[in-house]
């Protein structure tokens, strides 16, 4: 039942003209269907040794001479598969702009200040419940050149390496109630009814008294495709 296929009713297409960078980069030919063999039912394995203490606290891991500026937040959630089973030991990597909407990346030319005490990168490995947790700074919106007065809604990039290479996912987490979402071609590139899954929920339970607002965001990876396929692999 959990044949591990990409659900194209949930995944954005390659060809999406409103996002201009797709024009010269999106594949144009029909994808070739590939029955899953051992190459697709396996993938890189990560364990607790893949992270060091502090990797998941972005309010600390970039400090030079003080605290980063901005609104502290906690972002946590579970990585599960389509059957709702926890994905354990998934490698979760995040990166983001600072509170002013500026990335550490040297190609980011947005005229907003860098924060000497904020790098904006973190890493975690999910626990037995598939849970991850980051402490960070709420990222700012920033302009980009896609169209006139285009602004990316605040977001955190997430990279997930789960059970198999077929379940690889790179996505972005957005914040609830953001008016910029309705104008963002990257967010809108995901099908209606699916894109809403990328918006985190504010959580009073995750919120830490006197310290930081909390957001809860679950991530659903493809099924594990454990059903053996005859004639392939092994």
């Amino acid at each position: 039942m959990s044949e591990s296929v990409r659900d194209w009713n949930s995944q954005p297409p390659y060809d999406y003209a409103d996002y201009r960078s797709t024009a010269l980069r999106a594949p144009t030919r029909k994808l070739v269907a590939l029955r899953h063999g051992l190459s697709e039912r396996t993938g890189p394995v990560f364990g607790d040794e893949s992270v060091v203490p502090g990797d998941s606290d972005l309010t600390h891991n970039g400090r030079v001479n003080g605290e980063p500026v901005g609104e502290r937040i906690i972002v946590t959630g579970r990585v599960v598969d389509e059957d709702g089973r926890p994905v354990r030991s998934a490698l979760v990597e995040v990166w983001q702009a600072n509170a002013a909407g500026r990335y550490v990346h040297s190609d980011d030319r947005h005229d907003a200040p860098l924060d000497p005490n904020f790098l904006g990168a973190g890493r975690a490995v999910t626990d037995q419940d598939g849970r991850y947790r980051f402490v960070t700074i709420r990222p700012g919106a920033y302009p980009w050149g896609n169209h006139r007065n285009a602004w990316r809604p605040p977001h955190i990039h997430f990279s997930l390496l789960g059970p198999t290479i077929a379940s690889r996912l790179v996505t972005q987490m957005y914040f609830p109630g953001d008016p910029l979402l309705a104008f963002d071609p990257i967010y809108l590139g995901a099908p209606a009814g699916a894109r809403e899954r990328m918006v985190a929920a504010f959580s009073p339970d995750v919120t830490s008294e006197g310290f930081a607002l909390g957001y809860e965001w679950d991530i659903v990876l493809r099924g594990r495709g454990e059903t053996p396929v005859e004639g392939q692999g092994r």
Binding site: R6, D7, S10, Q11, P13, Y14, Y19, S21, T22, A23, L24, R25, A26, P27, R29, V32, A33, L38, S39, E40, R41, T42, P44, S50, V52, D81, E82, G84, E93, V94, W95, A97, Y103, H105, D107, L119, G120, G122, H157, S159, T164, I165, A166, L169, V170, T171, Q172, I186, G189, A190, P191, R197, M198, I219, V220, L221, R222, Q232, G233, R234
Partner: protein
């Protein structure tokens, strides 16, 4: 309860400090690199080198490539492969195209063995970049495996005039075999990408 997949989003132009920090000179440790095989790894040591070309034929300077492969004996370092792989060989690598002057990706690894004796040796590639809302999957096959390639079911399922987009060309150099593999996102010789 059945859950629906979280949609993919582009990796964007600014992934380097998060996903390839050491390669790009940021002060953040990276989880993987272009060096997949250590000096003691069993098997034939090879280098895989290529560029990612856009629809205008220009090399893409902000692509991120990941590779996943079996070891020299064709075994995957994963529990679904019950044979157990060589210790230490993860089979996983990750490189961005932004640090090489020619925007190449370079992987130093060993040549994978056939996974089951029937499939031709191959490497799975995950291709990510600004402008791709969903990553693309392709496979690399080796030009010096002509007889295995000619029997490979996946290759045989591809239109004959497109098969060679998946062939990495072997060049012998003083430091060992180098396989050249350019990925063309568009155009007449667009690389075969898989729905897997």
């Amino acid at each position: 309860m059945r859950r629906r997949q979280t949609p993919s989003q582009t990796v964007g132009p600014f992934f380097a400090f998060g996903l390839a920090g050491e390669q790009y000179g940021y002060r953040f440790r990276q989880a993987a690199s272009g060096t997949i095989a250590g000096p003691d790894e069993a098997g034939q040591r090879i280098r895989i080198v290529g560029r990612v070309l856009d629809g205008a034929g220009e090399p893409i300077p902000d692509a991120l490539i990941e590779i996943w492969q079996a070891d020299a004996a064709g075994r995957y370092a994963h529990s679904a492969d019950g044979r157990g792989s060589n210790s230490g060989f993860t089979g996983f690598g990750r490189v961005g195209t932004g640090t090489d002057r020619e925007n190449r990706f370079i992987f130093d690894t060993v040549k994978p063995g056939s996974v089951d004796g029937a499939q031709a040796p191959h490497v799975t590639l995950v291709v990510m970049m600004r402008g791709l809302l969903t990553h693309a999957y392709t496979r690399l096959y080796f030009s010096d495996e002509a007889s295995a390639n000619a029997r490979d079911e996946v290759l045989l399922g591809i239109a004959p005039d497109r098969r060679d987009t998946l062939l990495a060309r072997r060049e012998d150099t003083a430091t060992g075999p180098v396989y050249r593999f350019d990925i063309r996102m568009q155009g007449e010789r667009e690389t075969v990408f898989f729905d897997l």
